[in-house]
Structures are given as C-alpha cells and as structure tokens.
Symmetry: C2
Subunit: 394 residues, 2 copies
Amino acid sequence: MSRQQTADSRRQGFFRSRWVDAPDGAEELDPAQLAPGFRAGGAHCGLKGGGETDVAVLACDAESVDSAVLLTRNAAAAAPVRLCRDDLDQGGVRAVVVNSGNANAATGRQGYRDALTMQMAGADALGVEPETVAVAETGVIGVPLEIAPVIDGIRSAGGALSPGGGGEFTRAIMTTDRGPKHCTLRAGGVTVSAQAKGAGMIEPGFATMLCFVQTDARVSDPEAELRRAVAGSFERITVDGQMSTNDTVILQATGAAGEPLLPGLLDAVLLQLALEVVADGEGAERVGRVEVTRAANAGEAERVARAVANSPLVKTALTGRDANWGRIAQAAGMALAGVAIDEPGPHSIDFEELGADVAEAEIGITLGRGDASAHVYFSDLTHEYIRINAEYTT
Amino acid sequence: MSRQQTADSRRQGFFRSRWVDAPDGAEELDPAQLAPGFRAGGAHCGLKGGGETDVAVLACDAESVDSAVLLTRNAAAAAPVRLCRDDLDQGGVRAVVVNSGNANAATGRQGYRDALTMQMAGADALGVEPETVAVAETGVIGVPLEIAPVIDGIRSAGGALSPGGGGEFTRAIMTTDRGPKHCTLRAGGVTVSAQAKGAGMIEPGFATMLCFVQTDARVSDPEAELRRAVAGSFERITVDGQMSTNDTVILQATGAAGEPLLPGLLDAVLLQLALEVVADGEGAERVGRVEVTRAANAGEAERVARAVANSPLVKTALTGRDANWGRIAQAAGMALAGVAIDEPGPHSIDFEELGADVAEAEIGITLGRGDASAHVYFSDLTHEYIRINAEYTT
C-alpha cells in the first residue's frame, strides 16, 4: 500500500496522497455541501483578529442520529473536552458549537462554566436538548474565554445555517492552518462530508485536532467505526510530538440513506485529512512516512517509528533534502537504548527519498528482530515553525 | 540550591551559572594547564575544513592511574564506544585519542577496525599498552573514516604533548561548539582539569558529549564518583532530546597529590560543563531549568520534566520570551496522559522567568500527587538550530 504510487505521479482532487487508498467509485462533490440532513454556518465574534470568522455551528435536522466522540487523553484536557466527557450524550450528538482563537484550556472552573454556557446557547439557538450539543474549542491555552461575544456568535451562526455552509464552518474553525481541510464524497448511495483543522500541537494519543464527519449512511456501531478509522489516521501522525489539550473527533450518522458506508471510505477520508494536517504542520514543507518492520514487538516498532518521526535532526534533514541515514540510525538506536543489536547499517535503512525532491518521502527501517511493524507520518522542521511559535504569544 | 542566586547577578569566572554550587576556596588556573602528570596536544588531519585541529591526544605520565569510563547506551553506538566497551581496561586508562569531524558511527566492521587502528597508533606513539588507550570520536554519522590522515595526526599530536596543551586538546575535539569548554581548578591540595565538547544531539542516558577529567587527587572509587557526578550533570540536560551514538566521559586520577577530591568539586565542575553544553546547544540563546515537585513517583517526575524540556512549543516560548504557561500545562498533561488529575492551573506553575530577559530561566511545576521530584536543564529552539541542522549534511 505504501508504495502503490511513486511520489512524482501526484493525484488530483481530494485523495492526492500516495499513501491513501481512494475507494473505487467515490465521487467528489463541492466540499461546502454537507451530507443530507446537516446544516452549518459561521460567525465572527472577535477572538481572531482581522474580521475572520471564529465561531461555527453545525446541526443535524434528521429524525434520528447516531454518533461517536473521541477526545484527547491529555491530563490537562480543556474545558470543552471535559464537558464532552461528562455532560454530553456521546451517542446522540445533534449539534456542534465550536470556536477558534481560544482553546479554553487550563482555565479552571470558570472555563468549564463557559463551555456549559456555550452548550446552552447552542441548544437554545437550535431548539434541542443541551446534552445533545457538543462543544469544541481551539486556539491559545491558559487565557480566560471572553464568553459574551462567543454566545452572540453562536446565536448569529445558529440563526443562519445552510446545507452549503460546510466551507464557512471549516474556515471558522481554522487557527494557524494555511487553508481549509474538508471534503464531501458520494459513494454507494450515501454521502459523507468532513471538516478538519490542525497544524501545530500535533501528536495525538489518537486525534490531535478537530475533525467533524457527517453522513446519511446507516452506521451500526459509530464508535467502533470511528475508532478504527482514527487508529489508522490521526493516531499515526506527528508534527511536533505534542498531544493537544483539545483534540476532538465527532462522527454523526443519520442512516436516512438506508445504506451502509462503503468499506474503506471513512478510513480513506480520515487518512487524507490527517495527511493534510501533517502537510500543513506549522511551517512544514515536506511530509515523511517512516515504516519500521521486523521489530521484536508492537511497542518496540512504535517506539522506533516515533523516535525517528519526532527527531528534530531527521526533520531538519527532511527540510534540507539531506539523505542523512546516520541521523535515522541514531534515533532508532536511541529508541532501542540498552538493547544489544547489530549496528543498524545502510543495509537496513531505506532512506533515499529523504534527499530527493519529493513532497512525500518514505523511510523504511528493518530491525531483523521479529515480526512487528509500525508506521508514522511526520512533517519536517523549518524556519517557519520557529517564526510561528516564537512569535505566537499569549 | 536552585534559587540561591538571582538570574541577573551573574557570576564571573568558570562557575558562572546560578545553578552551580561552587565549592569554597577553589582557585581557577589557566584552563590550558592540565593537572600534574598529564600532557596533551592536537593536530590537523583534514577531517574538519579550514585547517582547524581535529585530532587530539592526552596522556598520563604518572606511575599509576585509576580511571572510570561512562559510555552512551544508544543501541547504534559508534565504533569507538564499542571499542571502549570491549577492548579497553576501563579502570586503567593511560591515554585518550580523539578525532572530531567524523563520529565513526554506523560504519560497520570497517569502522571498528579503524577504531582499533587508532588505539594501536596511540599506544605506539606513547609507548603504552593498547588496552590502556581510550578512543573517542565525534562528528558526522554514517560516513567511513579516512583512517590514514587520522593515524598521521595521532603520531604528530602524540609526539608534541605538553602540560599546557589543554587548550589545544579542547579546540581539537570541538564540532559545532561556539567555543571551548574547559577548566583547571586547584582546591584542597589537588588539581582537577576537565575538557568537554557538545552542542547538538544532546539528551543523554547520562552523558551526551565528550568529557575528559584529569586529577592528581586520590580517588578510591573512580566509577562511583564519576557516576554520581554525571547523574547530577550530563544526565540532567537536553538540547534536542537526541541521545548520541558517541557520548563518552572519562575520569583519570593519579593519586600523586596524596589527597582526596574536595567534596562537591567534581559535581560542580561537571554541572558547569554540562550547562555550558546546554547554553551552547545548537543555536541556543537561553537556558531553562524545569523542576517538577510533588509527583507521585520518580518516574512520573522525570517524565513530566523531560516532556516540558523537550517540547518545541516550550522551547520556542523561551526563545520568544513568552510567559506561555499554557504550553507548559499542555506538555505536563501529555506526560500524564490518562491520569485523572486536577487541571494544572496557574497556581501550580511558576513560570514568570520564561517571559523575562534572563539568560537562565526557572520553571517550577507542582503536581500535588506525592513527594517525588526531578529537574532538567534545557536550551531554547531558534532559527539557528534549523540553519545548522538543515544545512549540516553528509
């Protein structure tokens, strides 16, 4: 699967990564157009400067809806994440209210009260029960949320929802993203629409950003479906090795189309979106994929893959188009510290694309110790990362 | 100990960090002057461009010598490290031969043969047994060593050793270091001289660079002394979270002065040198010290301290003089993923120096979960790190 396509024969359209198996027969629609039964919209409340939209609302009008919610495991989880854990019917999410510009993280009890107020405002605006309204937030950490304009924004956005509001919704949830990450696909008689944001603070336990997926397909076990798709996508990426306080992924399915999801479709959508997040990693110019094979066990494979993917020396080699396999050997050796193995040599590291002029570069490492394997997608490390993060302040 | 001195009342001389307890009555001598009984010198063999010295030899002329050697635990350890592990009398090291410019790491069997050849050349030049000659190398990884000029360099340097050759020795072992890191101190009737190098690929299991220490003191258990001093110094630092393939620390003690080391002297010397390595971290402008207290256990304290110290978001906040405690809370929360704790808030993070204009900044984190604590010294992350590492190529 990893080498099904060479890096220079780039695909067009949404499924453009060499690493994504696009399901046969999936038709791409206008990404602003949501799956049937969903409406969305955005508003400007002043959290982001320059008049950009920073509050978004998404609602499901269908008779019934099944859903699943996955949340960050960060012990300093933000208020909206705690709310989704404690005060949300995760299997029956009707609506989502989101703001960007302030993560409402590490904001204590007042932050939690503010998230509850957002949930109430969403419920009021849409005429639904509060426990069916999910709250998600993203932006700066540790700064109290100015709640009054956010509530105004929720009312304003909630009063002007549209089936074609996916683009507005996506733009309103962006922070340092260079562009919107969204798609709408039709396959096997059902429609799937999805919106994601994320660029920095990216190394999930599973998710590492915000991602919302809507469909009119019949999904019998949304949590199992979502967990599997996330395990192969947002669980496999890193920008800066930093698990966020706010990661949230929500799947909503109405079942109105009466058909199930095409096998592999959800996985492909989430993997492409996850790769968009990596490609848009703060300051990123290139994406790498490291695959560790023949490790002694799954934990070892994962540890080596993460060590290589998060090494600033490997990341800057990717930036510099430097086929520096010594740095790969060093990072792998660090992850295997204390293990008596043969020195990893050029024979066991396939690294040549690091030095080539390709946007998506493969690195393979064979350990010769067993049958386990793991892979991780990662971004490079550039001047722009420093500029963004040394200047982006509270 | 950590706050014994405010950051703006900088000390003069070698012990200039606020975090080092300089022993009373230690007199600073010319750092080029080695401890009695030792001679050193350098030569240029062409591994580094521009005519800089890149081969160094250090020898002990005393009747007897005790020593200890600590080596990286990286599973991809370099040839000289393997040699010091397998073919060196670690308790009776007479001489050290070093080259910079090539780490002789991930160079396979030929690399090991080359390290043996260097050991033989050192033994020949000095008229000592090969198993008493330690070999250390530093520089680029994965490139075969050009052995002939290195051997010439060892002969040349070994034929012109001098008791005042500590400066030449130190310059010859530098790679991306901005300046020499060395000292010679006299206290309690004994002399200690020490030379270190290191700037990138710095996060030790214990050491993370090369460091050589000579003394005429009587040291009854050199390995125990060295392990304790390294545990409080090179074990506590990080630049880029990368454990090197070549880390080596060697202590040689002749006992000729008939007196023991002043308590705390070796610890203070190694801590100051370790802090020099952090301050000289590739592109570094500032140094931070994070102290985690009231953790549930030592492992948890260490994990949180390392997560904060290695977070590129905290590092860039240090660069940007941004008192961004949200990023500290996020990194600490990531290290505690899955643990149910109260949200770390401003009350539990003492971070104000991050945003102040001090060269050495303190961060304190109180977890309120137990009695364990840990601290780590770390460098910031700047444009210069990217420039050095995206351009420094094989």
